[in-house]
């Protein structure tokens, strides 16, 4: 590929890396990644993917920017309160990098629309941080064999895992069914340190870029845990469940499930 003068300048720091080069940058420019949610986690993921030059970034979100989001959802700003988050993210990312095309999907993800939406992308990033969506995205990605980088944050903690269907465990290998309502904390009630979403979201972005380039060791079969208070980073092995209902040898889940929302989707 022939880079323009602007691209040579813009991506120079990538091109310099032995693991990237012009060839790697070309892969990044040709990649198509979709973000589930343009909120706390989605914001930094999208920002760094746009900076890196991911050519097509899909954003699935049908919420509007609210004041309470701005403590952490850095793709948005004060002037955009009331604007649809997907549109706000599009403006932010395309302004940072003109090579990036943001495709907005201004709808709520359900079993009816998810397959059609993710089909056009190579990699899916889950920043939704709520259980029904997590399972929906997991199952859809396993069924379509899409790489999925999934994360969750809570108060001062975060965790990230990369799912490569067929090669490693999926989310259901770990938690076959969603925990009962009230048994798991929700961000809304518990609070979240803004910068924690920044760190975790950026880690998700690095996992995406590593997957695009095929470099380094992905968090495949590994759950990365971070606690901001004691600054511990730990990795826990996640075994692949041969009897996993969706990615196992004899899958029992063949259709997508819309679990009931037991808390608000805002995060």
């Amino acid at each position: 590929m022939e880079f323009t003068e602007d691209q040579i300048l813009r991506y120079s720091r990538h091109i310099l890396l032995p693991e990237v080069g012009g060839e790697g940058q070309e892969k990044i420019l040709n990649a198509k990644v979709v973000l589930v949610g343009a909120g706390g986690l989605g914001s930094p993921v999208g920002y760094y993917l746009a900076a890196a030059g991911v050519g097509t970034i899909g954003v699935i979100d049908n919420d509007r920017v609210e004041m309470s989001n701005l403590q952490r959802q850095i793709a948005h700003n004060t002037n955009r309160v009331g604007v649809l988050k997907a549109d706000s993210a599009k403006e932010t990312y395309e302004t940072l990098n003109h090579d990036v095309k943001v495709v907005t999907h201004k709808e709520r993800l359900t079993s009816q629309n998810i397959m059609g939406i993710i089909r056009d992308y190579d990699i899916v990033v889950d920043g939704s941080d709520n259980f029904p969506t997590r399972y929906l995205v997991n199952d859809a990605c396993v069924m379509q064999k899409k790489t999925l980088v999934s994360a969750a944050v809570f108060r001062f903690e975060g965790q990230v895992m990369s799912i490569f269907p067929g090669q490693g465990p999926c989310y259901r290998c770990l938690f076959e069914v969603p925990p009962p309502p009230g048994m798991v904390p929700s961000c809304q009630e518990a609070g979240i340190l803004g910068a924690v979403t920044g760190v975790i979201g950026t880690i998700q972005a690095t996992e995406v870029i590593k997957a695009i380039l095929g470099i380094g060791h992905p968090l495949k079969g590994k759950l990365l845990l971070w606690n901001a208070l004691d600054m511990s980073f730990r990795t826990v092995k996640v075994p692949r469940n041969r009897e996993c209902p969706v990615c196992g040898e004899n899958p029992t889940i063949r259709e997508l499930i819309d679990y009931e929302q037991f808390c608000s989707m805002s995060h």
Binding site: Q159, R172, P185, D230, R234
Partner: protein
Amino acid sequence: MQLAITKADLQTITDHCMKGLPNEACGMLGGKDGRVGKVYCLTNAKPGPDYYEMDAEEQFRVMKDLRGQGLDLVGLFHSHPTGQAYPSSVDVAQAYWPGTELPNYPDAVYVIVSLMDRTKPVARGFSIEEGKVNEVSLVVIE
């Protein structure tokens, strides 16, 4: 399925968990036929407010002691200083998985003590196997 435990033993567990704050505390439970007979308070080898690992040496000594006393390993306990009394993703990932090199405690009941309310610790029991979490009632006796 249920796990019976005396009030005194439950207090021992809770005290050990409170002492471990702000980090997670852990231990093992010996007994027979679904009833806790002996509580072993272990050291958290990798302490964190959201993480624990039982010291391998200590685990070995506990298993030896159980054998000597003719007891089975009926459960494992740990605390969640700021979380609910429910297995976290880490708890599930590190519980019994057949065919992996993880510790071999297939029938153990995982007792989790939530210290979200320091004045009212909550303990619940669970069976965790390969991604399946089922609650096991803790029956406090005597």
